[in-house]
Amino acid sequence: MSLRTPLSRVRGLGASRGGTEHFWRQRLTAVANIPLLAFFVIFVIAYNGADYETLTGALGNPIVAAIMGLVIISGLIHMRIGMQVIVEDYIHEEFAKLAILMLNTFFTLIIGALCLFAVIKLGFGG
């Protein structure tokens, strides 16, 4: 016999209220990251040593700019969850843990803001 209420069971979120969302999002971004970061690596190989005009021209291509944006978004979501797991595994002091988890979010958003603004600016032609 389950002690869970029917509503709780149908929501399927469990005691943490987050259910498997965290787990699922890590898998979702992991799968997305495979082609996205493969594209990123190939792009960097193709344009390594390229001069300013060539690189800005390449990043000005709408498709390249859009994919770069997705690389950043998917990569950063994956990275933030991963670091959260590491922090939760090793930092047990409550205040320090919360502070570092906040820093994790701030770091992710700062990197995201910088990268996305740069990609959009380059996408619109520098």
């Binding site: 040593g49 300013y52 990275m79 770091f107 990197i111 910088l114 603004f117 740069a118």
Partner: protein
Amino acid sequence: MAEVSKSRPISPHLTIYRFKPTMWMSIVHRITGGALYFGTILMAWWLVATASGEESFNTMNAVYGSIVGQIVLFGYTWALLHHMMGGIRHLVWDTIHAIEKEQSTRLAQATLVASVCLTLLVWIIGYIVR
């Protein structure tokens, strides 16, 4: 709470086991993930410097093109590809495949071989097309 848990018996941790390829790859997966976390700063600088104009682009390019820069980027490439190979391994495990002892050990070894080979391939091609 912290005082109480100190005197409690704890479950055996890493130090008590004989190391196996799967253990090494698990640890390396986490370390490469952590390295890639801070490695995003390199990506941010690459994009921001390029978006900021030719002068800052040239500064960034000179740093990344230097010996130290190339070594760091080589390490970054390996960390990325190794984490990717390790991630694919985890996705395979998620489908309940290759979790037997022999298979998982072989898969762990394959992860390392694949990441080293791919990294070398990427850099060889990189230098050829440069």
